[in-house]
Assembly symmetry: C2
DNA sequence: TTGAAAGCGCTAACAA
DNA sequence: TTGTTAGCGCTTTCAA
């Protein structure tokens, strides 16, 4: 319709392609395209360029309220750069992780965003080894891979100090599952903070089997056989939700009897009663950063590996109060 | 490697293609493929077949806990049939809906799953008119489109009866935004149920601006200026969460002063305190059914339009009790 | 039952 | 600056 060769049209519509096209021709092509409602067929393009403009995204559990905001950031970040996400949830199942990754790899994604990496993750290790652009989110597995995470150490330090300042001396931590890297990071941060902020205190740590309310409730009931504990730092907000339930069952009240701090600031955290004091992780921003990193990495696969650490902060709500006398 | 023509290999690996291949050759090809780690390139296939094995999925709000389970059902249902989902969240913005749909259409999806349709939705109407396979989820816009929804009328009837049996006579409903079709369905069902179950009672209805806790809280505070109300049916669980907050603020207790019923049974509903009595919508199953319907529709675009209505049930937890004397 | 040939829509390399 | 040619990997049509 513009009276030019297809290749010229292609160049006119893709200004970044080699071969500059005159302004006049470009205009003619663009106008014709608009009139015809022409949009490039991504399939033809992919076949030629060997790129799909698609990123595979693996999350551990869509039902954990932490991830939807992350995905929102990922989705927006990718789409604004012309990419689409293929999202898969592994339900915290290592085998399913490798299956899903196979499916996504079958789709020839240009890169992968992995939020499911466990501490020693063979599937992810193999992915990285194969040289495919990969970015880890929130979880860490080896240092040769770019990652986005949050400064949990700082946030947890703030949380412990907050509790200490309110007179709590017996502070417990309900850690997440051992195989998840953030569990270890947070537990370590907790121990460090207690020994720093509350020298001489003996840090109490129990472990929840999963990052779920049910597992949190079980762990909390176990923990509270020790009634000297007046404050709990939960491994994440879902575990904190379980703590509310456990406290209720045990006839204890929050924050009067036990203060509670979560980690994540998941969507409903401020609507729990009492509203949850929690370490805010910038979930959406983490997703957005991850999107940026993976696109950069695809453009420059050999650029040095970067780790992005995003700031956290403590938001004080109703679930923490002064220790009972 | 199997010593056959590519076309033969293609046929051997795609048993459904025309042209039957001998068992022997097939075996040779399959074995060679396995050894080479060969997987079909979906891009080449798409270019040839004009199909992408990709479904565009539009949801209104990833942050509303109702949708992650739906997506889980969609994801599994599609993947088990060889399809992938391209998921986009519109944040309840009509303009963004049409933009995102354009982006997805640019990707040449084979079909679309729309969970965002408002009552009179031009974008969706145009999509359907263009003849692209489309299935609506949870929301209804016109009858020429297949849809998956839940039997809210039944569930709401059960809820009202439940309240009535516990002695509640002043039962109010906090409806969702007017432009969403489920808001109207539920309001109507509520009015019908009240006049059936509680003849003579005057159904009280207020409207929340959005399906969010904040909007629910505002609506509930407004509603409770009438202190004769002893029970509330919230338009969905997020609105119910807002009701908990409003009751707290007003110094009222649930269920002692006011009983509360939600709709959805979202992931955290049972962990709220008191645990939320709610109408369970089979979210994941709705997603799975939608996946099934859209794939069927792609296979047989001219089959008669089907509406799937899935059953609901009331789950009674701690937020409802006998009316105060 | 298998092979040969062609072409889906696009853009990279080369030529003009 | 634009045109020509070729080919990405696959499956379909036609022929053998």
């Amino acid at each position: 319709m513009a009276g030019v060769h297809p290749a010229t049209a292609s160049r006119a519509l893709n200004p970044r392609l080699p071969g500059r096209i005159s302004a006049e021709t470009t205009q003619r092509v663009v106008r014709a395209a608009a009139e015809l409602g022409y949009v490039v067929d991504p399939v033809g393009r992919s076949l030629r360029t060997r790129r799909s403009a698609t990123i595979g995204v693996l999350v551990p559990d869509l039902l954990n309220p932490f991830y939807p905001p992350v995905l929102r950031g990922v989705e927006r970040g990718l789409r604004s750069r012309g990419f689409e996400a293929l999202i898969a949830s592994t339900d915290n199942d290592v085998r399913r992780e490798s299956e899903l990754l196979e499916v996504l790899r079958g789709r020839r994604c240009d890169g992968y965003l992995i939020a499911t990496a466990t501490r020693h993750d063979a599937t992810v290790a193999e992915l990285v080894r194969s040289g495919v652009p990969t970015v880890l989110v929130n979880r860490l597995a080896g240092t040769e891979t770019p990652s986005v995470r949050s400064d949990d150490v700082r946030g947890i330090g703030d949380a412990v100090r907050h509790l200490r300042e309110r007179g709590h001396t017996r502070i417990a931590h309900i850690a997440g599952p051992a195989e998840i890297s953030v569990s270890a990071t947070r537990e370590e941060a907790f121990r460090a903070a207690v020994s720093r902020e509350a020298a001489g205190a003996d840090p109490v740590v129990v472990r929840a089997e999963q990052f779920t309310a049910a597992a949190g409730e079980a762990a909390c009931r176990h923990l509270l056989r020790d009634r000297t504990i007046t404050a709990i730092l939960a491994g994440n907000d879902m575990i904190a939700v379980g703590c509310y339930a456990a406290l209720d069952r045990l006839g204890l009240r929050c924050p009067r009897d036990v203060s509670l701090v979560g980690i994540n600031d998941m969507p409903l955290a401020e609507w729990l009663r009492p509203a949850l004091t929690t370490v805010v992780l910038p979930a959406e921003q983490m997703g957005a950063e991850a999107a940026r990193l993976i696109v950069e990495r695809i453009a420059e696969p050999d650029a040095p590996v970067r780790d992005v650490v995003l700031p956290t902060r403590l938001v004080v709500r109703g679930s923490t109060a002064a220790a009972r006398a």
